[in-house]
Symmetry: C2
Subunit: 527 residues, 2 copies
């Protein structure tokens, strides 16, 4: 049951939640994603999921009912009635309002069959592999009703379904962001941009920002970067995907941590890389003598488990790369979110043979829609990377934001912001750890981490139990992301289920309340 | 003699012209691009080229002299003295000021040899092919001195070297841009952005802008686009490069117009396409029964000659594609700059089998550093394209600009701006045509065009004569771009030299003065 993308699109368009939800569900029905006979989620569950009021969900359901897309069965739920075989065009034409706005083109009589490239076929293939088995999120009606009626003797006020607590977001607390300082920096750049900068922005990005990044790496991490070896990218994925294309010919062997971020797997696979997954424990990736030409690794804080790579293993990875003449991409996506403890030397700082590529990003520390990442390249890759980026972007994109970020850093706003984030989030992490590890230790094993915006916990029991708990918690307004989608596609899992608890966007009270609810429900279910 | 890129970079950094020029030249010397013994251009020529004062150039030369990079020979010029064998590191370390700022990393003792992918090797190869024979831009001292001393009896006031007239820029007149309206739109978005939009920006771009584009295509061009088939890109090259990767496996045959834009050739070649060049005449590309799976074409206005593709040939290209089951990419980079006359139906509007991909851009109509292009995809390519773009950008880049542009269009500012540009530039085009074609018809054959920001003219004589004229004009402050870099690399040219005269950024007086100077110099040279 996924109409997230449609919802997001309509919400951006209409700004009204009920309207957007209605259109998103209708689209999913028309396109056949929600098949005839499927039951829609209970209103309160959907309300929690999308952080909107139950009234808005009810309104959306009523409009769907009025338009004949769903039927309601008393005491049983709401069901899809529409048959998706009816074409999009005819459905939309039946509503005057939509046909005005949506301007659906008439399908051509004989649409050409378009043959995709090998690259595109790999891209499609990895997407089909990555479709993980959806975790069924429905609540067993009996359990829900038991809980709702107070069976089990718990205090119902604590599990009010009206207060959704969503641990599934992993992002900084937007409220901490110094909005006025940032606006000031942006306004100043817009004033100047209209005058036109003397030269168009080079594809590799605004030099003073590259210099500021080099300065920051030197000051904070003891890393001596040359700004000419740094390229600004639209988020870190652009860097990783371009690197995959520059380094990998079809059939080349690549080692990825397992689990890992799915976008990385897609980039490597699509470039033709043959992926080997390396297991990860509480000290990070376990080094082996891989026969591979490329390794991607997240040493500061493995994604998603949060494990920090031990100093010994860092040394071992570099020795391996030197011996095998391999390249290492060090993805330091989360290094700005360090809440204390000693920060270990980066692989790039230890790299004596210029074979580590260091990728960083500002995307997680700044506003969400700002996409500034960077890559520090070995000298031998500078020119190839420039050329590759220029194929896509002969000029830099987002120059105004690059310039504003430079001023934001120069004025000290960025560093003040990060200090504040570290203080506030560090405290929340302590509370989360105490609350979760204290109450839930019986069911979850928590991986120690002193950085990042989420805590990873491995489930001690079996998959069915985990999914039962997750499903019931969902019905009572507590949700989190699970690790299933991070396991490498097409590989044996044999791993315990895992949960990611994001916390930075929640208040301390919400964190405590969320942990209490999970404990309560786990006891109810007698797990 | 090319230190443009270095100059641009330093200028962005320092904002001071003399400083930037000094650093750019020094870099070129240190890196060996300006070899020992080479003569630097006369100060006035360089001043004209970079649109700076002669005083600034003199200052830059004096600093180079003071630091020992050049020597001066009275009456003969300024020569490079530095031997580039001296390493960058040691050169830079000799200056305390630079070593502080530039933070050059110490080169590693044993830098790893990095093996590039086949994709990257193609990318490097096409770049080496594209290095065109540099047109030697030096002025024969004798001619220059003849002209300067008034030999030939011309009025020297008309060829004042102090007033550079640069036809080589091809961009809209920045002064026409409604800066205040644009600032207002951007400020409003920044106010909102800080509040955070409800959902992150989908990679395919802001839906209301895609809807506005669909609306504009329908209204202005009678093209019925579905916003769901439109994806916003960071300029049009991102669209073309992603399409090349989605459609071409190594060895696939592709037809490009010859001449064409070099970035397109690079994208196709790097994706593995085997390029065939199709000749172009005054009615555009000449159709043939190519054995190819992809054709890229600029029907509205061939780049760079400006020829509009005739209606008959449009029909022939579509028939060819239907017969061969081929795909056509219609690059309509310049369609917004139409100065009158009937606008022909686009290939996409005539496409009955959904095999034409339409690429457009706002980059040329808006501020230069704003990079918003778009692609209207066949239904079969929508999902593959989304996935491909998401590999590089899981979220949209430049959302604020996408939203501001939407508001700018909705308020009518964009249309008012374009009407004004059309009126002003249309008049300039008439003046340019009269001035150039009137005065220079003896030497150049002008290609008729009623759109675009430049006029193309084919040289009637031989290459040596053309280069003599260009070189002498350069010394007297009149410059233009020539077509040599647009011929497909590695293919027989056998073509006449061609000149691109951009005009939109010049005043009517400058256009007239430029044409007069070229005529004067051509007569002087007795071409």
């Amino acid at each position: 049951m996924d109409f997230n993308r449609a919802y997001e699109r309509y919400y951006n368009e209409y700004g009204k939640k009920a309207e957007s939800l209605f259109r998103a569900i209708r689209e999913s029905i028309v396109e056949g994603e929600l098949a005839e006979g499927m039951r829609l989620p209970p209103t309160r569950k959907l309300a929690a999921l999308y952080e909107i009021s139950r009234g808005a969900v009810t309104e959306a359901y009523e409009r769907l009912y009025a338009e004949g897309f769903v039927k309601s069965e008393a005491g049983n739920g709401t069901f899809v009635t529409h048959h998706p075989k009816a074409s999009v065009a005819s459905t939309v034409n039946s509503e005057s309002e939509s046909s005005d706005q949506m301007n659906i083109s008439v399908p051509s009589k004989v649409a050409a069959e378009i043959k995709l490239s090998k690259w595109a076929k790999r891209l499609q293939h990895i997407h089909s592999l990555n479709k993980t088995v959806a975790v069924e999120n429905e609540t067993s009606p009996m359990i829900a009703s038991n809980l709702a009626s107070g069976a089990g003797g718990t205090d119902q006020r604590k599990v009010s379904p009206l207060q959704p607590i969503d641990f599934s977001l992993v992002s900084a607390d937007a409220g901490l962001f110094p909005a006025d300082e940032w606006k000031k920096a942006m306004y100043a750049e817009i004033r100047d941009a209209v005058k036109q900068y003397p030269q168009p922005a080079a594809s590799e990005g605004y030099l003073p920002l590259r210099e500021a990044i080099a300065g920051g790496l030197r000051r904070d991490r003891g890393m001596h970067a040359d700004p000419d070896q740094i390229v600004l990218t639209n988020g870190s994925m652009q860097a990783i995907t371009l690197l995959a294309m520059l380094l990998l010919s079809p059939g080349d062997d690549v080692v990825l941590e397992n689990p890992t971020y799915p976008g990385i797997q897609q980039a490597i696979f699509t470039a033709g890389g043959r992926i080997g997954g390396a297991p990860v424990d509480d000290e990070g990736i376990i080094p082996q003598d891989w026969d591979a030409k490329l390794l991607l690794v997240t040493p500061t804080r493995h994604f998603p488990t949060g494990a920090a790579l031990s100093p010994l293993r860092r040394r071992q990875l570099l020795d391996w790369a030197n011996r095998r003449n391999a390249i290492i991409i060090e993805d330091d996506y989360d290094s700005t979110f360090s809440w204390g403890g000693r920060r270990l030397e980066s692989l790039k700082a230890m790299d004596e043979e210029d074979r580590v590529i260091y990728v960083g990003t500002f995307s997680r520390a700044m506003l969400r829609d700002q996409r500034i990442g960077y890559v520090w390249l070995p000298q031998a890759l500078v020119e190839p990377f420039h050329r590759a980026k220029m194929l896509f972007e002969p000029k830099a994109t987002g120059l105004i934001e690059q310039r504003a970020l430079t001023a934001f850093i120069a004025s000290g706003s960025y560093e003040r912001h990060m200090r504040r984030v570290r203080r506030v989030c560090g405290r929340k992490l302590v509370i989360l750890r105490e609350a979760l590890a204290g109450k839930l230790n019986q069911w979850f094993r928590f991986v120690h981490a002193n950085a990042g915006l989420h805590v990873y916990a491995e489930w001690r029991g079996d998959v069915a139990e985990y999914e039962r708990l997750k499903s019931v918690c969902g019905a009572f307004g507590v949700s989190w992301a699970d690790s299933s989608r991070y396991w490498l596609a097409g590989m044996e899992r044999g791993q315990k289920p895992g949960a990611l608890f994001g916390f930075a966007h929640l208040t301390e009270e919400q964190i405590l309340e969320g942990a209490a609810r999970i404990e309560l429900l786990a006891r109810q279910l007698e797990l």
